[in-house]
């Protein structure tokens, strides 16, 4: 943005001051996240830069905190690192278990939220949808209602939501529920809780994509003899897919970052990365947390890049100018 030629000296000074202010705010936004990365390579158990790190002495840096992620919870961390050692990392290491739990919970929650959310968004985008505003308000509310309220409600309800141990249902749902046959302390409980938290994001992104959707395309497909199923998969789906995928990514990140519901409804078997980090920060904060944080920053950069690419693709598909 250039200054107009008629700008007075005072306006020029203000203009540069304004640019400095903006730069400072951008630094405020991004610096904390970037500072985590070099700190995670600290050779000392401190949360700040040591003298050696500042003078770029290689001895000030190490990968020991990344190593901790593999050895914490390992039954024999100091033995030779052969295939058995790595197998034990995969089976026993605390952070690896947390990562596996987070991934599976996130994946199933995302699938649930995306499938249900996309179908519902298709209905909500129809002009003839009855009570549209009210239903929309209900479906968006998991994003607005404080997570602590949701978690308290779920912890009451999931402890009661059990199947009788000797019923037919118990054999069907057994593996997904806790030992007592309840939603509390079970993987399924965490998955449905995270799915409901991800639904608003799917609804918002998919309805936004559908708002630019040209309904005459479906009519054209019908008039050319396509049945509703073919129309959906061949015409509608390819066009809204970018919106669906970015909604799914939002849902996955929501689940991957969620800790309050997990704290209230999950048992020790559902240890996730955020929960492990939360406990780590509360108890003894070690740079191992920063190593995890660095990995998560890299993951979020990858996710951001994919969402941006999808957004551009979606706008191109809908005939809008790419930005």
């Amino acid at each position: 943005m250039a200054l107009p030629t008629y700008a007075s000296p005072l306006e020029r000074i203000w203009h540069y001051a304004y640019l400095v202010i903006c730069t400072l705010i951008f630094i405020f936004l991004i610096a904390p996240i970037l500072l985590v990365v070099p700190l995670s390579f600290n050779a000392e158990p401190y949360f700040s830069f040591t003298e050696k790190m500042l003078s770029f002495d290689p001895q000030g840096y190490s990968l020991r905190w990344y190593d901790t992620l593999l050895t914490l919870g390992h039954p024999a961390p100091d033995t030779v690192r052969d295939s058995t050692w790595w197998a034990l990392v995969w089976e026993r290491a605390t952070w690896v278990q947390a990562a596996k739990n987070s991934f599976w919970v996130g994946l199933w929650a995302t699938v649930l939220a995306t499938v249900l959310g996309t179908i519902a968004a298709l209905g909500l985008s129809r002009p003839e949808m009855p009570y549209r505003r009210l239903i929309m308000a209900i479906l968006i509310s998991p994003m607005i209602v404080p997570i602590i309220i949701i978690a308290v409600g779920m912890s009451f309800f999931y402890a009661q939501a059990c199947v009788p141990p000797d019923s037919v249902f118990a054999t069907l749902t057994g593996p997904f529920l806790s030992e007592k046959g309840c939603l509390a302390n079970s993987h399924l409980g965490v998955i449905v809780a995270h799915a409901v938290l991800g639904i608003p994001f799917v609804i918002i992104t998919v309805t936004a994509t559908l708002s630019g959707f040209d309904q005459s395309l479906t009519r054209a497909a019908h008039s050319l003899g396509a049945n509703p199923r073919v129309t959906f998969f061949k015409v509608v789906m390819p066009l809204i897919l970018p919106g669906v995928i970015s909604g799914a990514l939002f849902a996955f990140v929501t689940s991957f970052d969620e800790v309050v519901a997990v704290l209230f409804i999950a048992g020790p078997a559902q240890q996730t990365i955020p929960r492990q980090m939360f406990n780590g920060i509360r108890e003894a904060i070690s740079p191992a947390i920063l190593a995890v944080a660095t990995i998560l920053v890299i993951v979020s950069i990858a996710l951001l890049a994919s969402v941006e690419l999808l957004r551009r693709r979606s706008e191109r598909l809908r005939g809008m100018t790419p930005q």
Partner: protein, 417 residues
């Protein structure tokens, strides 16, 4: 000619057109509804019913009523008894129930229920229940000799209320009212912890909203006026924090702001601070406000940006050409056009801030806790009904804000990234 116009319009198969249209519309309505139906059921089961359960918990507690059938019956028969001086029959009923509690090991639960409204009664109940089996009439004298506190009118008010499993007691406690000799009274001003914390939460959320607004405005404006190629690069700086894990960002602020952290180290190194004079910016309200501002700033920038981007620059130019100064142009022409963005962003940030839990829990220390943390505290102390009552009050506040947001901004205009 006259007969043709008065006749109803019909479809090809001879039905009246109006009827056919209504049927078709009803069909498409049903179709649209069936698409949303599975999700509605899912949300009902996993979200609405749990919240309903929580609301029920806030008015229900059977810890005392379950194990006091005799006293409950007596209260029902004598609803207008003198609380200052309950008759012998009431004490007789109480002793019967106490003896029963001792036998079924329910004393703790019953005492805890009364303890919520009259603190310090658990031990009273335990002692009373131990002795109740051996007591002889007159029971009133026997109990009062055991402990004079059995005659306290607030205890009898509490037991009368707790004799029913449905109660508003927890809302009374959550609004800082105290049970006294004459029933529920407004509590001492110094002991108004819950309402004070609600007030503090709203105040802190307001402060954070204002800071976010002040920080977001210049940035959103810059992003809106820069050419697209440059602004999308800068946009990454806004979106990356948005996509980064909340715990990562909170951890980063701990690393920056704690006493041995980067900011303090840098200030000491530069000689601004002495080593003893390190600032305490973490584990207090300052830490909560700084970290929450950082977390919520993108939620303010994004709605502001989407409004600012479509403001035509020609209005400002017209104002300038008509002789307005740059300040007047900003105040009278530009700022009013950004108001929808300011309203949307502020409401969203405020709503999110009021219910925040993780950041205050991790960086707030003792002083920087908000209402969510108190709810969690009561959950961990198993005082579920009080936690539920506080959560219900918070929910009511949030729903009002959500309703205002819907009126002013419209939920379907919520955008992400």
């Amino acid at each position: 000619m006259t007969t043709a116009t008065t006749e109803l319009l019909k479809t090809a198969d001879g039905r009246p057109l109006r009827e056919a249209l209504a049927a078709a519309q009803a069909r498409s309505k049903r179709k649209a509804f069936w698409l949303v139906f599975p999700l509605l059921i899912f949300v009902l089961l996993t979200f609405l019913i749990p919240i309903g359960y929580m609301l029920k918990r806030s008015v229900e507690h059977d810890g005392f009523s379950k194990s006091s059938p005799t006293l409950t019956a007596w209260f029902q028969a004598n609803s207008d008894f003198d609380h200052m001086n309950p008759p012998e029959a009431a004490f007789a009923a109480l002793v019967t129930d106490l003896a029963q509690m001792q036998a079924t090991k329910n004393t703790g639960m019953a005492g805890t229920r009364i303890n919520y409204t009259v603190p310090g009664t658990i031990s009273l109940f335990k002692k009373g229940a131990r002795e109740a089996g051996d007591m002889q009439p007159p029971f009133k004298a026997a109990l009062l000799t055991l402990d004079h506190a059995w005659g306290a009118p607030e205890l009898w008010y509490a037991m009368e209320a707790a004799a029913s499993k449905w109660t508003t007691d927890f809302y009374q406690v959550a609004t800082d009212r105290k049970l006294t000799e004459t029933g529920w009274q407004r509590g001492d001003d110094k002991q108004r912890i819950y309402l004070y914390l609600f007030f503090k939460t709203f105040l802190v959320s307001g402060i954070i909203t204002v800071i976010c607004m002040l920080l977001a405005f210049p940035v959103a404006h810059l992003l809106a006026v820069l050419p697209m190629s440059k602004s999308s690069l800068l946009m990454i700086l806004v979106l990356l924090p948005f996509w980064t894990s909340l715990l990562v960002r909170t951890t980063a602020w701990i690393a920056l702001l704690q006493e041995q952290g980067i900011v303090n180290d840098a200030l000491v190194w530069m000689g601004v601070l002495s080593d003893e004079g390190r600032l305490s910016m973490m584990y207090n309200m300052t830490g909560t406000i700084i970290a929450m501002t950082h977390v919520l700033l993108p939620f303010m920038i994004l709605p502001l940006y989407s409004v600012m981007r479509v403001i035509p620059p020609s209005y400002a130019r017209a104002a300038r050409s008509l002789g307005a100064t740059s300040w007047t142009t900003f105040r009278r022409i530009y700022l009013p056009q950004t108001l929808p963005g300011i309203a949307a962003g502020s409401l969203l940030v405020f709503i999110l801030a009021v219910g925040y839990y993780i950041t205050p829990a991790l960086v707030g220390g003792a002083e920087g806790q908000l209402i969510s943390n108190l709810i969690s505290f009561h959950m961990s102390k198993s005082n579920w009904s009080l936690a539920a009552a506080l959560a219900a009050m918070l929910l009511a506040a949030i729903l009002v804000l959500y309703w205002i947001y819907d009126r002013l901004v419209g939920i379907d205009r919520l955008k992400l990234g």
